[in-house]
């Protein structure tokens, strides 16, 4: 039976907190740990859940008792006549979460602290398993991404609500090496399991997610009738039609565009759209040549030689920056169909490594616009199957290095569409997950719109401050844990869980691709015999073939 660990002392420093006293001999009452007490709420006894947010010692031996490291201060205390068991006694501050209402699937705060002397118990594993997660492991919409950090491995599984993540967005924030791509991969694996079968796109600027290709082969991720798919698109595999680029995209993409050039570009862009409309009834089918031609015409029409110079400069920039063709991302006609990028049970990884930063941003902006419009039109029944903009299921897009796509203090091509999706995507089934190692550089509005947060270790004070200011659902007590978290430990909060939890992320089924290069091992390997022989062989001069003997020479 669950024994009391402490007794309520009285109200705490805030209206929803209380104090209790505990010797905590087994050191179970860590910050973040869950405790319960029984209380009568409107005449019904309820189990109230609370979380430890602070522990303060009530008793301390004099410092001098520990003056000799060889001597146990308990022994010194026994010499002066104290041999009690409770030389350590703690005043624990706990924050009331409330009692779980199965109908609401949420906690209700009783708004009154426990009576003085109320026994305080450690929350039982079964109870926590039931109330912490909005969905139970294995249910449709459940992603079991790990277990409660303060409990034994696997005892209290944490299942996050994939539905909430996909509709109200997600942020994964962590310092370098804290495991954010690992966590994201675990989430993707869970989203692709038979009980979720999500349609996921990963924007991968560093090529860290190619090992997700193993998804299809892993037994744990499939079932008899279902096998998840993974597709890795390398630069050049994905095609963006140039006609899908907006004037702002072009202006952003071309380097050092002056106001005059921008003016010429605007006129040429409209001219190219007209050409497209007269040719195909649609204004977003213009080609790079048509834009090129439109700019040339603009230059020819200008009487002022200065304007002609602007047009020429613009042409030069356009031709040197945007290229179409076989191995290029931009194409005049071809565009990767959305139903190829997104399909339930499929994870598409779009690798953008080796793509210039501005191009990455424009590609993502064009893609997000297309996805949003597709979902909008499909939802409004304005497109039919076979149409470019037909996307008949909700989608989820995970964006790595999100600070490059929604930087703080700057409005770049991706910012607008990202904010739009974050604000309205819920209505149309477009969910976004932002991953960043520099939340301090991420637009605070964008971050605060992500209603589920995975917070891993964050050491940088600026980044911590940004998280504090943007993430409302996590208490100060848990945020103070951020620099102390180790690899694989995360604070999960927001819409996808019933209350913020400290979680140990489970092991990945697929191999991890974001490992650092083991530099010292490679340096040492340089000197081993195999490498030495290889170098000697490479450095050896090529031997000339020996002349054939004249004996065999044909006369």
């Amino acid at each position: 039976m669950n024994q009391p660990l402490g007794r309520a002392k009285g109200p705490g420093p805030t209206p929803h907190s209380f104090l209790f006293v505990s010797p905590d001999v087994e050191q179970r009452l860590k910050v973040g740990e869950f405790i319960t007490y029984e209380a009568s709420v409107d005449g019904t006894w309820q189990t109230i859940l609370a979380r430890v947010i602070e522990r303060r010692p009530l008793r301390l031996y004099p410092d001098a008792f520990s003056g000799d490291p060889q001597i146990d201060p308990n022994h010194v205390a026994a010499i002066v006549g104290y041999s009690g068991r409770t030389s350590e006694l703690f005043e624990i501050t706990a924050e009331v979460i409330g009692y779980y209402d199965a109908d609401l699937r949420d906690f209700i705060n009783p708004r009154v602290p426990p009576h003085v002397g109320t026994p305080i118990m450690l929350a039982e594993d079964e109870y926590l398993s039931m109330v912490l997660s909005r969905v139970q492991p294995g249910e449709v919409g459940a992603a079991t991404i790990g277990w409660l950090l303060s409990r034994a491995r696997g005892e209290v599984p944490i299942a996050i609500d994939v539905g909430a993540v996909a509709s109200t967005h997600l942020a994964i924030i962590a310092s370098t090496g804290a495991g954010k791509s690992y966590t994201a991969s675990v989430l993707i694996e869970e989203m692709l399991k038979p009980n979720n079968r999500a349609a996921v796109l990963v924007i991968d600027p560093h090529g860290e997610y190619d090992t997700l290709a193993e998804l299809a082969n892993h037994k744990a991720l499939g079932s008899k009738r279902y096998r998840p798919e993974a597709r890795i698109y390398r630069p050049g595999d994905v095609k963006i039609r140039v006609g899908a680029l907006e004037q702002g995209d072009l202006r952003y993409l071309l380097p050092n565009v002056s106001e005059r050039m921008s003016y010429v570009l605007g006129r040429a862009y409209r001219r190219a759209q007209q050409m497209s409309r007269s040719r195909s009834q649609q204004e977003d089918r213009w080609t790079l040549n048509e834009l090129d031609e439109a700019i040339q015409r603009e230059g020819e029409n200008e009487e002022d030689s200065f304007d002609r110079g602007s047009a020429n400069a613009l042409l030069w920039r356009l031709r040197s920056t945007i290229k179409t063709g076989r191995d290029q991302i931009f194409d005049d006609q071809e565009q990767t169909p959305l139903d190829e990028l997104f399909r339930p049970g499929r994870c598409t990884v779009m690798q953008l490594s080796q793509v210039e930063a501005r191009q990455q941003q424009v590609i993502v902006a064009a893609l997000l616009r297309r996805i949003f419009n597709a979902r909008l039109r499909t939802k409004n029944n304005s497109v039919d199957a076979g149409d470019d903009y037909y996307l008949p299921y909700p989608v989820f897009i995970l964006i790595e290095e999100a600070h490059n796509f929604a930087p703080a203090g700057a409005d770049i091509v991706t910012t607008g569409i990202l904010k739009k999706i974050l604000a309205e995507g819920r209505k149309f089934g477009v969910g976004v997950g932002l991953i960043s190692q520099r939340p301090g550089k991420l637009d605070p509005d964008v971050l605060s719109q992500c209603n589920t947060q995975f917070l891993l270790r964050i050491v940088n004070p600026v980044d911590q401050a940004r998280v504090r200011e943007s993430v409302e659902s996590v208490g100060r007590d848990l945020l103070n844990e951020l620099p102390a978290l180790t690899k694989g430990q995360a604070i999960i909060s927001g819409m996808a869980v019933n209350t913020p939890v400290l979680c140990h992320i489970r092991r990945r089924h697929t191999p991890h691709g974001g490992e650092d290069i083991p530099a010292p091992e490679e340096w040492v390997a340089y000197f081993d015999d195999a490498h030495e022989q290889m170098r000697q062989r490479d450095a050896a001069p090529l031997q000339q073939p020996r002349r054939r003997s004249r004996l065999f020479k044909k006369e």
Partner: protein
């Protein structure tokens, strides 16, 4: 069987009495020091119908010796005084301070805390039996120690030690309440042993 310890010879206040311990020739069974040790529960008789007795705790011991400081010449050696002037020897006495912590009336009802009734001079002081001590502490709801704060609040350096002694005795006499008594004893131990040494409390 109750052992008579002495009689009240003085009071310093409503709950603070002085008892002179019986000496040789005063009673058949002369009380020994362990009968009137610090923390001993005693009964002090009350006059009046159904008044019962006060329950007291021995909180201090004082030795009375009129000979102290008298360095003048003696007419007889000390061993001969027993024959020639036994009264003179009797002036030496042991006094104990008694703190009244409650009352048990004639019908056996227990009142803990400051008693309303006071004892008279010459009131008989007796050592309480185990049964009397248990009866005094056990109420309808279990163990009662409502007098303990009064003991601790005494303006005496011995107050905490007296309280600890009481708790140690009760832990032996009331084994069902050892856990609760240990909690109280632990707090007092910390205050008396670690607090004065500079420990945080």
């Amino acid at each position: 069987m109750t052992l008579s310890l002495g009689k009240i010879v003085k009071s310093n206040g409503h709950t603070d009495y002085v008892c002179q311990i019986y000496g040789v020739h005063e009673v058949d069974v002369v009380p020994q020091p362990d009968n009137y040790a610090l923390g001993t529960f005693v009964s002090v008789e009350l006059t009046g119908k159904h008044a019962g007795y006060l329950v007291g705790l021995i909180y201090d011991t004082v030795l009375l010796n009129p000979d102290f400081g008298r360095l003048g010449p003696r007419l007889s050696p000390e061993r001969e005084l027993m024959s020639f002037a036994p009264d003179y020897l009797n002036e030496r006495a042991v006094l104990v301070g008694i703190n009244a912590i409650g009352r048990i009336d004639g019908e056996g009802r227990v009142y803990q805390g400051v008693p309303l009734l006071a004892a008279n001079s010459d009131a008989l002081v007796q050592q309480m039996t185990v049964e009397q001590i248990q009866g005094f502490h056990m109420g309808a709801d279990g163990l009662n120690l409502t007098y303990l704060p009064v003991v601790v609040q005494q303006d005496s350096p011995l107050a905490y030690h007296l309280a600890r002694t009481v708790l140690a005795q009760l832990a032996d006499l009331l084994p069902d309440y050892q856990t609760e008594l240990a909690v109280l004893a632990d707090d007092l131990n910390w205050r008396t042993q670690i607090g004065p040494m500079g420990g945080m409390q």
